[in-house]
């Protein structure tokens, strides 16, 4: 026999179909009173958002306007169905277009592909002599295309700043913020013991990747990410109070601004001397040694510090809204 309607409606397949069709999980036959109540609530919400700081008196409700809005919302539902369908069709079309496009692209990795031209040849042949690095990727991003990387580091910086605008609790907000006991959790034996072992290892590994960026795969971005992960692990195990003893807002500011300012100075020096054909006074050193490749090593360290700060700042801001 057929199932009761309620059971039928809770089937996954039905709910999936309704999701695809863009229907909401509310009954479509809303009584006018119920609708009115909903609208009142939304009105209040709107007033609060828009006019809160203006301290305007509440606007008188107009029953006619609500009836109009009722019609609007039922219309919206129909529109929404068409909308979801069209979005689906559009996605299929774009996927088809891109697959069609791939068929005409040069074969990946083939020797006569246009990407194997004089540019990559120059990077591979003269790279070591030009920049003094063994790992050519680092040489390319930090010397040949130094300006792009400088911009990319600022992308990370500005991303943290944007999150700060949104989530940073400062001044009045900070005092009003509810105290969350989760921020300084009860000591968790397993986590703390593991962290005591792991954090030093992770940090040392991060520093290794950072310092060896010009010799082996790695560099500022990856090393910084590993170090940031180490900081986050420490914080998760020991809480904000303990982390704050060595990594608080002041330290964060100094590290972040210091590294970016030094990076900017180095980049200015590199680009200015390069563009004006002034000989650089920084020696490239012996290829393969740890202290070699001129300014790439300091840049790698600065980028690493910036990336580690960014990683930790994201975690701290989303978790607590501060350091």
């Amino acid at each position: 026999m057929s199932k009761p309607r309620k059971d039928y409606e809770e089937l996954k397949s039905v709910r999936f179909r309704r999701f695809i069709q863009g229907e909401r999980e509310i009954s479509t036959e809303v009584s006018m009173e119920e609708f009115q109540r909903q609208m009142d609530k939304e009105h209040e919400e709107d007033e609060r958002l828009t006019y809160n700081y203006l301290n305007r008196p509440n606007v008188e409700m107009d029953p006619q306007a609500d009836a109009k809005r009722f019609a609007e919302i039922t219309g919206m539902k129909r529109f929404h169905k068409v909308y979801v369908f069209m979005a689906f069709v559009l996605c299929i079309c774009i996927i088809g277009l891109l697959i069609y496009n791939v068929a005409y692209m040069p074969n990946y990795g083939s020797a006569d592909a246009p990407t194997n031209n004089e540019v990559s040849e120059k990077y591979l042949e003269d790279g070591q002599a030009d920049t003094g690095v063994v790992n050519m990727v680092t040489g390319m991003i930090l010397q040949y295309r130094a300006f792009d990387t400088f911009g990319e580091t600022h992308v990370l910086f500005i991303a943290t700043c944007a999150v700060m605008i949104l989530l940073f609790l400062k001044g009045k907000d900070e005092e009003n913020a509810p105290h969350d006991p989760e921020l300084d959790p009860e000591p968790d034996m397993i986590l703390q013991t593991v962290a005591r072992f792991l954090v030093p290892l992770v940090m040392i590994f991060g520093i290794y990747i950072l310092l060896n960026g010009h010799l082996s795969p790695g560099g500022g971005f990856s090393g910084g990410a590993v170090m940031g992960a180490g900081l986050i692990l420490y914080n998760a195990a020991f809480g904000f109070t303990k982390t704050g003893r060595f990594f608080n807002e002041k330290v964060y500011d100094i590290l972040k601004v210091g590294s970016l300012a030094l990076y900017a100075m180095i980049i200015t020096y590199c680009l200015f001397t390069g563009a004006n054909d002034i000989a650089s006074i920084v020696p490239l050193g012996k290829v393969g040694a740890i202290l070699s490749s001129g300014l790439i090593l300091p840049i790698n360290i600065l980028v690493g510090v910036e990336v580690a700060c960014t990683m930790y700042a994201f975690y701290a801001l989303f978790r607590k809204g501060g350091f």
């Binding site: 040069p106 246009p114 911009g151 500005i158 400062k170 500011d253």
Partner: protein, 497 residues
């Protein structure tokens, strides 16, 4: 090499350095630093404009020891310098005009964060203008997107966060399409530098290999930029983003952010693909159709608004439509008219947003047009600015908007007959629609008010009045002394290819 050539690099670097430094300063110091950086970058751009006009030819500046195509480089011509100068100037005036609202709208502890966004936004705009390398362009498109998001949500209302989310989603979609397009282009040419790309693309067209990927790449790039600059069907994020953010943010977002992307698209058309190939792919026809649709529908949406900021925001959709319509005409003159309209619209729209905020300030903070009645008498400078800006947007002679409309009409005369007729009709309809909402709003704000609305002891503030006066002067200058600017633009565009 002349030392002056370094100034382009410095004008990008200066705001880029002062951004991070602002993050440890107090709001007030950060503000001063920011004003200094914007002002100095503007002065540098002005000197570069003089220099490029004096020498009569553009120059490339290699960023680092290694010449392109191995390293990065930027290119400075008179068009780039002119646009950079205009951007710096308008950003300075928008900040100056919105200073009072900034102090009110944004938490004091977070004001230095706001100025980080301003600094890096300027750096990214200048880099987009000067870059000669598509990938550098993409990096700065990212900075531009994030800082624009920061500007939208700086006010911290629920609606701002909603608007910023909308903007983020749409804008990242645009960035994604641009990035896919760049990877396809790199795959079929092996270059990222604009001049090398152009050589390879000409070769591709001659040999007939990889024509399909090239078409797809050009299409994706154009659509990506169109989404980011709110061309008509992709404008859903725009009214909220412009309408609810703080005064300076609205002015800067509407005036500059979308224009930076459009300028990158112009460079892509001229310096990367070449206008002949663009016309052969038919991308310009599509942009023409969307531009015309934007001109009409943007204005129709603007008529329906009761909120003054949202009205001005929807008018932006129409004006962006004009710019794309100029691209699509397929003649040199159309492009010149578009570039001129970029300048005219950037200054006009920023002025309108600043003045609208002034008007609503003296009307109890409301932005509904019923409450704005008579507000021009309460805040005379804002009223004057709004009147001049509106008339310019409608296209009254002597003002910037009129000149660009004349250029568009002239360009239409040179285009193919079908496009000519459509353009002229659309210009006429759009002008009438513009007049319908702008003149309505002007009449409302200039209708004498009753006594209870009077604001006791109100003063506009020196900075606000100063910025308004400068905006009015710029509108008149663009309207009446347009000939030299027209010549610089056409000289710059001819040096592009």
């Amino acid at each position: 090499m002349d030392f002056i050539k370094n100034l382009a690099f410095f004008s990008i670097l200066l705001p880029m350095v002062s951004g991070p430094v602002s993050s440890v300063l107090h709001g007030k110091t950060a503000r001063r630093l920011s004003f200094t950086a914007v002002g100095l970058s503007g002065i540098f751009s002005g000197i570069l404009l003089w220099y490029t006009l004096y020498t009569g030819e553009p120059f490339v500046y290699k960023m680092g020891r290694f010449a392109a195509p191995y390293g990065n480089e930027i290119r400075v011509g008179c068009l780039e310098a002119l646009v950079a100068l205009a951007f710096c100037l308008i950003m300075f005036l928008s900040l100056l005009g919105g200073l009072k609202f900034l102090k009110r709208d944004i938490q004091e502890e977070k004001q230095n964060l706001y100025f980080i966004m301003i600094n890096l936004l300027l750096a990214s705009l200048l880099a987009l203008v000067y870059t000669n390398d598509l990938f550098t362009g993409y990096v700065f498109v990212e900075i531009n997107t994030i800082s624009a998001c920061g500007l939208i949500m700086a006010r911290g209302w629920g609606r701002n966060i909603l608007a910023a989310t909308k903007y983020m989603i749409m804008s990242l979609l645009g960035s994604g399409l641009v990035l896919i397009s760049l990877s396809i282009l790199y795959g079929i040419t092996g270059h990222l530098l604009m001049s090398n790309l152009h050589e390879s693309i000409v070769k591709i067209m001659e040999e007939g290999t990889y024509v399909e990927p090239l078409t797809v790449a050009v299409g994706l790039f154009a659509v990506g930029i169109a989404i980011k600059s709110a061309l008509f069907p992709f404008h859903a994020w725009l009214p909220d983003a412009y309408g609810y953010s703080t005064c300076s943010s609205s002015a800067i977002l509407s005036g500059l952010v979308s224009k930076g992307y459009i300028f990158l698209l112009i460079k892509f058309f001229y310096r990367v693909v070449g206008t002949d190939i663009i016309r052969a792919t038919g991308v310009d026809d599509v942009l023409f159709a969307f531009g015309i649709a934007g001109m009409i529908f943007g204005s129709i949406s603007a008529i329906q608004q009761t909120d003054i900021s949202r009205m001005i925001a929807f008018s932006s959709v129409a004006q962006i439509g004009y710019i794309y319509m100029g691209f699509g005409l397929g003649v040199e003159m159309g492009m010149i008219a578009s570039v001129f309209h970029i300048l005219a619209h950037a200054s006009g729209k920023s002025m309108l947003f600043v003045s609208a905020n002034g008007l609503s300030e003296v009307s109890d903070g409301s932005r509904n047009y019923r409450d704005l009645r008579g507000s021009a008498y309460r805040h005379k400078w804002a009223g004057a600015g709004f009147l001049i800006g509106s008339l310019s947007m409608v296209g009254i002679p002597l003002l910037a908007g009129f000149t660009s409309k004349v250029y568009f009409a002239e360009a239409a005369m040179n285009a193919v007959p079908v496009k000519m007729i459509i353009t002229l009709i659309a210009l006429a309809i759009s002008t009438i629609l513009n007049a319908m909402y702008f003149i309505r709003m002007c009449i409302t704000v200039f209708t004498p008010m009753n006594e209870q609305y009077k604001v006791e002891g109100f003063k506009g503030g020196l900075t606000y009045n100063l910025s308004m006066a400068c905006f009015i002067v710029i509108t008149f200058v663009l309207g009446m002394l347009s000939d030299p600017i027209f010549n610089w633009i056409s000289q710059g565009l001819s040096q592009f290819s």
